[in-house]
Every structure is written in structure tokens, then in C-alpha cells.
Amino acid sequence: MAQSVKEIKVDENSPLFDKTGMLHKEFPSDFRQIRYFTLLIVQSAPPDIKDVNLLEQQISEIIKNAVKHGNKCDTAKKVRVWYDFSPEHAHLIVEDEGPGFQDLEKWNDFNRKRQAALEGNDFETLSEYVSFRGERADDNDGGNALFAALEYWDGGFVFNSKRNCVSTLKLFPKKRQGIKVSR
């Protein structure tokens, strides 16, 4: 059976936008400090889920999108982040002051074609779908962050209706407590 293709959703009423009990920080949209801001957030995560800095990398991508594509690196504009971590989950909400992710449908369509090329092991076609170029993308945009994000944030990846706020959830498998029983 063909696996359904994951896509970026828009759902203002998603329970993922419930900020109850979440920690909060806000930053100016300073491109040079994206990784520093990310570290300030990730430092509150338990070591178990920081898995070879993948959590940091994935959070950094979402903050970068807000700083660069949302707020166009205008330091007068803020990026607001709500976050909550446990050994079983990472929940992040990132809001910018920009016009919202206008290319969302285009991106989902692009991703469907990309998935079709991947499933068919069609690397020639895939080469046309390795990077998504939004209208305002520049040469330093990889154009691939959201492909990885949709895979990583397996508990959900959803935008509000204005599309300037994204909420993401990553679920981590429960670790068994290693208790040795000797006979």
C-alpha cells in the first residue's frame, strides 16, 4: 500500500497551538544570532533528546525561517518562541511578524512530486526537486529544510491561518529502564 505523503498543514485550531505551561522567549530578528538563540532554547531540553545535536539543528531551521523569511532580518521585528521538552517530547511554537508562508501550497505540491521521484528511485527527476526555491530565496538558502523538518517533527507540523506561526511536535520513544536481574 502506498504511504500517504506528509504535508504541511494549516489549522488554527490545532491543539498544538495550546501554549499552556510552555516556556517563552522572544528575540530580535538578528540573522547573526540564530544559533545562539537556538542554544538558549535547547539548553532546557533533557540530554536524552539532544541526540547528536539534531534537536538543535531542527529548531535552528525553524527560527531561521522566522528571522529570515518571515521578518526579513528586520531587527525591529521579534521572533516569539514557546517551548516545552521532556524525555518523551519536544514541542515548539515559533511566531514571526511577517506576512506568513505564502508559498505553502506550492511547497506541498513540490514535495508530492519529490516524494514520487524518491519512491520511484528516479534520481534524474529527483534532481529537479532537491531544493524548493521560494520567490524570495537567495543562494544561501538550502531549500531543503522543510523536507527534513516534516520527517523529524513526527507529532505534527502545522501553521496558523495567517501562516506566520508554526507549531511542531517531536515524539521520542520511551526508554526502558535497564534493570538487571541476576539469577
Binding site: 540564530i34 541526540d51 545535536n53 531551521e61 532537491v130 527534513a148
Partner: protein, 112 residues
């Protein structure tokens, strides 16, 4: 990020040291483009000392890979590990990039 070039036969090995992130990745792209201008045709990009990559780093590798492929030259990326491997796996590009586990195997692949 620090880049060092060494030569082995006809192949040029680029040792990447540090983080391939949004602040640094363009340097690798620029270096490869300069080497192409100087008629280099065989590249090995060694990621043994890279423990962090983001979408800009992946984007740089995609750009380099597609440029070298279009020109009909050779590229192998080696020693992918840790989070670098995981990020490439998340983008599902392990099959797209020409990857060898070690430099020795990359050199053999160059001769094939």
C-alpha cells in the same frame, strides 16, 4: 569552518573541518567553483571532521553535486557520520549523493 585541499593522483581531497551551517557553507561552494575554474575534475569531499550540518550545508552539497554532475566530472563525499548522516537521511538524499564510507574507497571509485 576550515577547508584544506590535498592531492592524491588526479583526485583532489577537500577536508572540511567544523560546522557546515548557515554562516559557513557558502565557503565550500565557492572553493569548489574556483577549483572547477582551474580545471579540477575529480573531487572528494571529506566530512570526517564535520559534526553539524544544516539546510544551508545540505544545499551547498546539492549545488556542488549537481554542478559537477552536469559538467560530467566526478565527486564522492566520504566519512558521513553522526548528525550529518541523520540530516541527510531526513532529507532522503542518501541515494542522491555519491557517498563512500572512506577516502580509500572513494579513490577506488574514482578509478572505476
Amino acid at each position: 569552518m576550515d577547508l584544506k585541499i590535498r592531492k592524491n593522483g588526479e583526485s583532489y581531497i577537500i577536508d572540511v573541518n567544523g560546522e557546515m551551517d548557515l554562516y559557513n557553507s557558502y565557503k565550500l561552494k565557492e572553493l569548489v567553483m574556483k577549483m572547477l575554474e582551474k580545471k579540477v575534475e575529480r573531487f572528494i569531499i571529506n566530512l570526517e571532521n564535520v559534526d553539524y550540518i544544516d539546510s544551508s550545508g545540505i544545499g551547498a552539497l546539492i549545488y556542488i553535486c549537481s554542478t559537477i554532475k552536469k559538467m560530467g566530472f566526478k565527486l564522492v563525499i566520504t566519512n558521513i557520520h553522526g548528525s550529518v548522516k541523520k540530516v541527510i537521511e531526513l532529507t532522503k538524499l542518501m541515494g542522491y549523493f555519491p557517498i563512500s564510507p572512506t577516502i580509500d574507497e572513494a579513490l577506488k571509485r574514482m578509478e572505476a
